[in-house]
Amino acid sequence: MAGGLANKASTDKVLMKGNEAIAEAAIRGGCRFFFGYPITPQNEIPEYMSRRLPEVGGVYLQAESEVAAINMVYGAAAAGARVMTSSSSPGISLKQEGLSYIAACELPCVVVNMMRGGPGLGGIQPSQSDYFQATKGGGHGDYHLIVFGPASVQEAADITCEAFSIADYYRNPVMILGDGALGQMMEPVEFRPVEEPELPPKTWATTGARGRRPNIITSLELEPALLEELNRRLAAKYEKIKRELVRFDTYKLEDAHWAIVAYGMMARVARAAVDKARARGIRAGLFRPISLFPFPYDSLARVAEQVRAFLTVEMSMGQMVEDVKLAVLGKRPVHFYGRTGGVVPTAQEILQALERIIQNEAPQNANGAWQKEGDAGAEGFWATGGFN
């Protein structure tokens, strides 16, 4: 099937797979080096890069393994290049050591994980069970990736393009956390002109030391005081990232009494569930984190002031739900519905999960026996007229 930019329609939009759109967006974002190793369901990214990168003077190289690929990324990033790798869950696990080194050395790069069902070699169908690994470090040591979870082909393209500037600005690896469905689906996508922010020159890069002192990039630091200093500097950077990079989206949340929280592909199914619920007179709304690190804790905490309960929906056994609980801090019940192993919850299933929660949370009789421990704002809710 002929994909790609040759398919220009009457509009400026093209129909592309998520994987292809990410690859094209990376090139537009300045990516000139790609190192990878094949794995389903992300193979269209290296395939596209192998074709397109030589056209723009870049380098595509299929490494002998995921470990080799991430260390090539390490080297290219150290030399100041805009560089990307992509893989899917088991392959991303193999890259964790390299990612820890890259984060320790504060090198910018972009990593795509099109998640598939795990654990182990697992399957090839979509999943979101690498959330912990992506957002909490993944490899060893006190570090974080910046993580985005796009929910459409357009958003995946936009964020990937921007990710290279973000990585350069914060000198931090950025992960695009998608799933097999996002990678495989086609949607219309428009590539807008790229506006590069002004970025500091990469004076730290190992570009040849003629006429200057050598730049040394290493993660080895045997002096505890100096290593602690690095960790403090990293922590301060992550705090800055938390202040500056939080992104989320909402759908019909303004007057909602029941908030569904979901990211990526799952958020789209959840949006359909919100519409189904609304059609039944249930005031449901959607909160969709776009940045997963930094997680939108504060904004979600404000939602807790308004809704009666949360339902987190994931293609996992429950990972992001822990961050939702951290945000809500017990002010409201936080429920979970998930399918895993490559099974994608349907809108109908999410609606049923929501209806079960409403049944259990709702008063069993006129005495209002629903109020449970932790429901601190319940009176306020009844004062505003009850649910629905």
Partner: protein, 186 residues
């Protein structure tokens, strides 16, 4: 208008291209659209399917179709697998040349298309998919036939462009089998 289509058949029957053409046509018309394939082991020789969602008024919520408004079944395993998922009042398009059983559902619109027989008459079995697509588009009107025809040169690789007239003919033959009966879905 919200059309959620599952197109299913054997690998090689062209079900992915049918979906791609439909999605491309919808995009040309400025509609919101998504296309998603099954990409599991079934792609290696067994049954294959793709889902297309076309929405005129709002962006596509879920690209994953669990309650199709239309099922296009190019073979019997596809009918067996997906028939029960169709919404009441939905449309079932069956490739009557290959499907050797009657549909069980009585609450749906059924369009039987002898696609392989017609493709055979046209001299190329591979355009059976276009016959079925023509019948579907004529029945539902979710995209204009001209948009599908206009998408052929974008969707088919250049080395198959000599087959575009044949594809158009197959599409027209299919369209001739069905009259417009738009979706009852909102």
């Amino acid at each position: 208008m919200l059309e959620e289509v599952i197109i299913a058949g054997f690998g090689g029957q062209g079900v992915m291209v049918m979906g791609y053409l439909l999605a491309y046509a919808a995009m040309r018309e400025g509609k919101n659209v998504s296309w998603i394939p099954s990409y599991g082991p079934e792609m290696r020789g067994g049954t294959a399917n793709c889902s297309v969602v076309i929405s005129r008024d709002s962006e596509v919520a879920s690209p994953i179709v669990s309650e199709p408004t239309t099922l296009i079944a190019m073979n019997r395993p596809s009918l067996d697998k997906f028939e029960r998922m169709l919404v009441p009042g939905g449309l079932l398009v069956v490739n009557a040349s290959l499907v050797d059983r009657e549909p069980e559902r009585r609450d749906i619109d059924i369009l039987k298309v002898p696609a392989n027989d017609i493709a055979n008459e046209l001299g190329n079995m591979r355009v059976a998919n276009m016959v079925v697509l023509g019948a579907f588009v004529a029945r539902r009107g979710c995209v204009e036939p001209a948009s599908v025809i206009g998408s052929l040169e974008k969707v088919l690789p250049p080395h198959h462009h000599d087959l575009i007239p044949l594809n158009e003919e197959a599409f027209a033959r299919g369209a001739g089998l069905a009259s417009l009966r738009p979706s009852m879905q909102p």
